[in-house]
Amino acid sequence: MAYLIDSTSPSQAWVEAMETLIGLRTGKAVNFNVAFPGDAEEHPEMAHVIDDFLVEHDLRHEREILAVETVANTIFPQALYHPHLGDQAAALLYENYELSMRMHRRRKGGKDTYFNRLTAYPVSPDPTKPRDLELAPEGTLNQLDLHVQRMRKQRNSAHLSSSYEIGVSHPVDGELRVQAPLRDKSMTGFPCLSHISLTLADDAVHLTATYRNQTFITRAYGNYLGLSRLLRFIANETGARVGEVEVVATHADAELKIGPPAVRGLVDRCRGEFATRALVAHA
């Protein structure tokens, strides 16, 4: 059974999604869709509430507690993007991120990040094809830059809406994926399946992200923030308006194994943060 949470902000969306999931016997669902405006206000207080919960319950991933901001940073490193630099902003972001990844690999070995997959996807360019070598001179493809450039052109020409698919997982990671970033350069036709899909419609850019599994306490809120920031970056770099974020969890998990009363308490606290903010905003 599919679900759709259509909300007003990533924070409100997370609360509504959790309320739906914990209302289910297992706390799990398939085809779980959550949508919110990409330019909605962020609520740092909610990230703090979730971070405190992660610490309180010692929810580690590979020996580390991943704070909401850390999860968001793996999708888009907000601190390295400086829009005031105009045309130079994206180039500096890519350069600085590559440097930070050298340090990251020293600690994490070959463990990749989502943003690195967006900007340095491992490919094997065909050395006989100049376009391949131009796109991936070092055996990595900056998919994000490719689509920003493509979308910029499309805004002023053919207005193709659905030609911007970004793959995150690699075929050898054990997932079925259809799109091959360097091979599938055609702007129309097959393939239409991917992990991040960008749509340019009515001069707004929208983002759909597909997760094969999404844990809602340890990841989802950080995912929402990171994806919103990624969409704002793309919109800013292309000159389009910020549209909607939709996150499809083909398998969603409220992580009730932590203990249903504790999880319900967390959702109540987050909802409380909202209620307080709403009262202050309307006072």
């Binding site: 940073n73 601190a79 390295l80 005031h84 130079q88 991120y97 440097l99 340090m103």
Partner: protein
């Protein structure tokens, strides 16, 4: 040994796309230290290694939130590692 703090601030200014004077003003206003994001910390640390010609200066175990998220803590870390290596 060359001025670690000055070099570090130059690199942070570069990472933020700002003039050094802008950063100095922020530093003064904040009482002599600045919080930095952990990704900024990693980037600045890598830039410092390249500038000093000391790749591998920062060890995997050094990359903690405490070490990477303020100017002063990153400066102290780099100073300590440079001293151990007999920098400059």
């Amino acid at each position: 040994m060359t001025d670690t703090k000055g070099m570090l601030l130059d690199q942070l200014a570069l990472v933020r796309g700002r003039d050094r004077t802008h950063l100095d003003s922020q530093l003064d206003a904040a009482g002599g230290d600045l919080e930095i994001d952990s990704k900024e910390g990693q980037t600045v640390a890598m830039r410092m290694e390249l500038l000093l010609g000391m790749e591998g200066l920062i060890r995997p175990e050094d990359q903690t939130r405490t070490n990477l998220t303020t100017v002063q803590s990153l400066e102290r870390l780099i100073e300590r590692r440079r001293t151990e290596r007999g920098g400059d």
